[in-house]
């Protein structure tokens, strides 16, 4: 057996050392070496998207990406590093619309959605169909779609600096009439 190699990855803005055998997927380095368990194992063959992370902004299925194929200059963002305190517009929209059910697929779903609204700030339904190929067994798809549209509107409103971002989210929540008066308040 090859001796485990020491290497460095740039994850969520930090340079982190890890040791793993050749061929170990990035997913398992994140989960088992770096303690970032927000990124999930669902299939191991890039079918379900639960393991989606960003590498230099692009959504990547980390279960089939050898960690050794990522160099220390490439910026990896996981769900834990998408924002400070869950304030990325996609995360806020997910809370506003109560998108998750069991939630297991949602880290990957959110990372895929965040990459989509970054590359296409005003995605059409077709864009969402094409980009969001993650599997959710509970069946959150319609709220995922609504959440992406809502986050996109919020980002557009925020970029015009009219400070209407919060009302936009509230409006989205109102569309489903979801009442937020607990810890997950919008």
């Amino acid at each position: 057996m090859a001796i485990p190699k020491s290497a460095t990855l740039n994850v969520n803005g930090k340079s982190l050392n890890y040791q793993a055998d050749a061929g170990t997927p990035l997913l398992w380095v994140l989960r088992e070496q770096l303690g970032l368990t927000g990124t999930k194992y669902g299939c191991g063959i890039a079918q379900c998207g639960s393991c989606t992370v960003h590498i230099d902004g692009a959504p990547i299925r980390s279960c089939v990406m050898p960690a050794s194929a990522v160099n220390s200059r490439q910026k990896i963002i996981t769900i834990e590093g998408l924002s400070k305190d869950g304030t990325h517009p996609i995360q806020q929209a997910w809370v506003a619309l109560d998108v998750p059910q069991c939630g297991f697929c949602q880290s990957g779903m959110i990372m895929a959605a965040a990459a989509l609204v970054k590359s296409k700030p005003n995605p059409t339904d077709q864009d969402i169909d094409d980009a969001m190929t993650n599997i959710c067994r509970c069946g959150t798809y319609n709220r995922v779609r609504a959440g992406i549209h809502s986050a996109a509107r919020q980002m557009a409103a925020a970029s015009t600096k009219t400070n209407t971002a919060k009302p936009t989210l509230k409006k989205a929540a109102n569309a489903l009439d979801i009442i937020h008066n607990n810890a997950g308040a919008v």
């Binding site: 999930k40 069946g139 319609n142 997950g184």
Partner: protein, 741 residues
């Protein structure tokens, strides 16, 4: 290594066995559900056997109130995405009259339940029972706690309790202009005796609800959006090792020989183990190392008597059983065979439904730490008490020395009511005493070792008179019984009553919504070696397809409108009819559709609720199906959280349409062919129709929500496909058929 089975000590007492099996019966067996209602109401409100501490005063088994007014509601049922945790908290909080903003939740453990004689009733979470099976006693728990808090305040003020009022966690004595919060009196309330006649507590009427019945946001969403939520698979314990496991892919087979191929020398690998007589596990420092080492090991299996079994062979057996004489009667009115013999016109069709895997997003896993005098297990389980019993049995320890810590489930759908994976994890940990070991199944293992949706066929025969009226209907179901696989002792006189879901003559659980002058529903049981399980929706799924699609066939053959035909048969079934009518009204059934769009309609009753759906589809020249919109109605009696009911209805279409369009598990050489999602496709976002949910709350009963709608997904779409193409699809999944004109 030699392939002898480590003999399990037969240490599980009869009592342990009974607790486990009763828990299973109580939660997962639909149709004769017996909640621990008595146990819950009689003991839930007695004092804790363990004194609560001053910072966490336990008012009763359901409610803890901290000095800072934080309310902790205990939730016995498992949360797996269905929203039960939030719904049950709403029901307790409603009667407690606390401030919803202060509510958090916690799971009591199965060990505490055992020690305190089950004050929380059943932990089992299946059969869409989470809310309806516990609503009465959890509301009484909340009400009793409120009464004790008021009594504590009143005693402190030396005024009669009747002069005190309560709202949002604040008790007021208006006459003396005094108020006090729950947190301030919780310590004193916890020392009071529980109200004596809990059964007689008057619960609030639905019209007075301020927390229940509202579209409240879930309590458990935020951590699911940041990666902070820990699932069983994410658990890390000090000194923990990881295990990967591989069981004989042919059900009933065993390990014959093992050649470890040097796997033990691979980095991080600690041990290679037998797990019972049918599986091998590798324990390593990381799961990835355990899994890759396991993949290199050569295991020769003794595949046993089912080595040549196949789906094709099962299908032949079931086909023969459609005409067999050994069928057991489920429903019988009049003499359907005679009506058929005397019919002016006879319509016949044979339908079938395949094996399917639950395919939870989080694969099966359990973490266990075993020592000679204690066994702890961290389990994503739908059935805490059954998991506890399974741990004790496999650990060789009494229940009192075992504990289960329930983890949030990354999907359940019925799969996690079984305890096969729990047992495996204990058998592994037992071989490394004192070391916590997290066993995770690979997706491939999860697909191979499922507890599968049962396989059935159904021959439908209708007798018509000269006015095209249905004079008799015979449904002959042939195939697998879930109970025969999971609880054979529940089969009485050869009958599995769960087989007849949705086809019972009456009752409040799962009754047929039509009146036929002559009706016979019978079942010729044929059990392949593939282990069956309760799969979200259970037998209602295929039974609704058989009946609702066949009625559509009769409508087409007799040139009747499918809705009008149903309505004629439903005059004595007003609740069934109401959901169907609600859907028909919303889609404007009597108005023409845009060119190229076609409709299909279906209704059924299951898990105590009435459901109907109408699907609007189009099919292009290449035969590609697009489902544009589904309108669905549910009458669940009372709606505890309408926005979560909508989420469950939408989710039910995802689960049901995935099954209808894409999913089957086929058997070849005794084993499941499909190994991962590339061969077992799930519904994707792009395929998801718009869903409009109509919630009816006719009251007077409490129905389930998580499952019934699944059953109308497939027949609504299949009937719409017929309307569009004239093609009648009788065998699923749809991927095996061409819809090209």
């Amino acid at each position: 290594m030699n392939a002898t089975t480590p003999k399990l000590k037969s240490s599980g007492s009869r009592r342990q066995f009974l607790q486990g099996s009763t828990a299973l019966a109580g939660s997962l067996v639909v149709g004769f559900y017996v909640p621990f209602l008595e146990a819950a109401t009689s003991t839930a409100l007695t004092k804790a056997t363990k004194p609560s501490d001053a910072s966490n005063p336990e008012i009763n088994a359901w409610v803890v109130i901290q000095p800072n007014d934080q309310v902790i509601v205990r939730i016995a049922r498992s949360e797996m995405g269905q929203g039960t945790l939030t719904g049950l908290a709403q029901l307790v909080a409603e009667e407690l009259e606390c401030d919803w903003a202060n509510v958090t939740t916690e799971y009591p453990t199965p060990g505490q339940s055992f020690e305190r004689k089950a004050p929380w009733g059943s932990f089992g979470t299946g059969g869409s029972q989470g809310i309806r099976g516990s609503q009465d006693y959890v509301r009484r728990g909340g009400a009793a706690a409120r009464m004790m808090l008021i009594q504590a305040a009143a005693e402190g003020w030396q005024v009669p309790t009747t002069e005190c009022t309560v709202s949002k966690g604040v008790i007021t004595h208006a006459a003396s202009n005094r108020t006090i919060t729950f947190g301030k009196v919780a310590g004193a309330a916890a020392k009071l005796p529980a109200p004596k006649e809990v059964k007689d507590i008057k619960l609030k009427g639905v019209s007075d609800w301020t927390i229940a019945g509202k579209r409240l946001a879930r309590l458990d969403t935020v951590d699911k959006t940041t990666g902070k939520q820990i699932y069983g698979m994410d658990l890390v314990l000090p000194g923990m090792l990881n295990a990967a496991v591989k069981a004989c892919p042919v059900f009933g087979g065993k390990v014959k020989t093992v050649n470890d191929m040097g796997a033990l020398k691979r980095p991080g690998v600690k041990k290679i183990l037998f797990v019972g007589d049918n599986a091998i596990a590798v324990v390593a420092d990381t799961w990835w190392r355990a899994k890759t080492a396991l993949d290199t090991i050569k295991i020769e299996w003794d595949e046993g008597q089912h080595a040549n079994a196949s789906t094709a062979a099962f299908n032949e057996i079931l086909k023969t059983a459609l005409e067999a004489k050994d069928a057991v009667v489920g429903s019988k009115i009049g003499d359907a065979p005679l009506a058929i013999a005397n019919a002016v016109k006879k319509i016949e069709a044979v339908y079938s439904y395949p094996h399917q895997n639950h395919a939870c997003m989080e694969t099966m896993n359990t973490t266990v730490k075993w020592t000679e005098d204690k066994c702890e297990a961290w389990v994503p389980t739908q059935n805490g008490q059954a998991a506890h019993a399974a741990v004790a049995e496999a650990a060789g320890l009494p229940l009192g020395k075992c504990e289960v810590y329930k983890q949030l489930l990354g999907g359940g759908f019925g799969r996690r009511g079984a305890t096969d994976y729990v047992r495996q994890a204990v058998l592994i940990a037992k071989q490394m005493p004192g070391v916590p070991i997290k066993m995770i199944w690979s997706r491939e293992e999860d697909m191979a070792q499922g507890r599968f949706h049962p396989i059935t066929q159904c021959k439908m025969t209708a007798a018509l008179n000269d006015k095209n009226e249905i004079t008799g209907l015979h449904m002959r179901i042939a195939g697998q019984s879930i109970l025969a696989g999971v609880r054979p002792e529940a089969i009485r006189d050869g009958k599995d009553p769960v087989v007849f879901q949705g086809l019972n003559e009456g009752g409040t659980e799962t009754a047929i919504g039509y009146t036929f002058p002559n009706l016979l529903v019978d079942h010729a049981m044929r059990n392949p070696h593939v282990p069956p399980g309760f799969w979200r929706g259970v037998n209602l799924n295929q039974n609704a397809i058989y009946l609702e699609c066949f009625l559509d066939e009769i409508a087409a053959a007799t040139k009747q409108d499918p809705l009008a035909l149903r309505r004629q048969l439903m005059t004595k079934h007003p609740k069934h009819l109401a959901v169907l009518d609600a859907v028909a009204k919303r889609v404007e059934w009597d108005k023409p559709l845009p060119a190229g769009i076609y409709r299909g309609i279906a209704q059924t009753m299951g898990f105590g609720s009435y459901v109907a759906a109408c699907a609007e589809v189009s099919i292009d020249k290449e035969g590609a199906l697009k489902i544009h919109r589904i309108v669905a109605a549910t009458d669940c009696g009372h709606a505890v959280n309408p926005q979560q009911i909508e989420a469950q209805v939408e989710g039910s279409f995802v689960y049901g349409l995935a099954a209808a369009l894409h999913q089957e598990c086929t058997v070849k050489d005794g084993r499941i062919v499909e190994t991962n999602f590339h061969q077992y496709p799930c519904l994707k976002l792009a395929e998801m129709p718009k869903v409009e949910t109509i919630i009816l709350t006719s009251g007077g009963f409490w129905g389930g929500v998580g499952e019934p709608t699944i059953a109308v997904a497939a027949p609504a779409v299949l009937n719409a496909i017929f309307a569009a193409t004239g093609k009648r699809i009788r065998d699923l999944p749809l991927k095996n058929h061409s819809l090209k004109a």
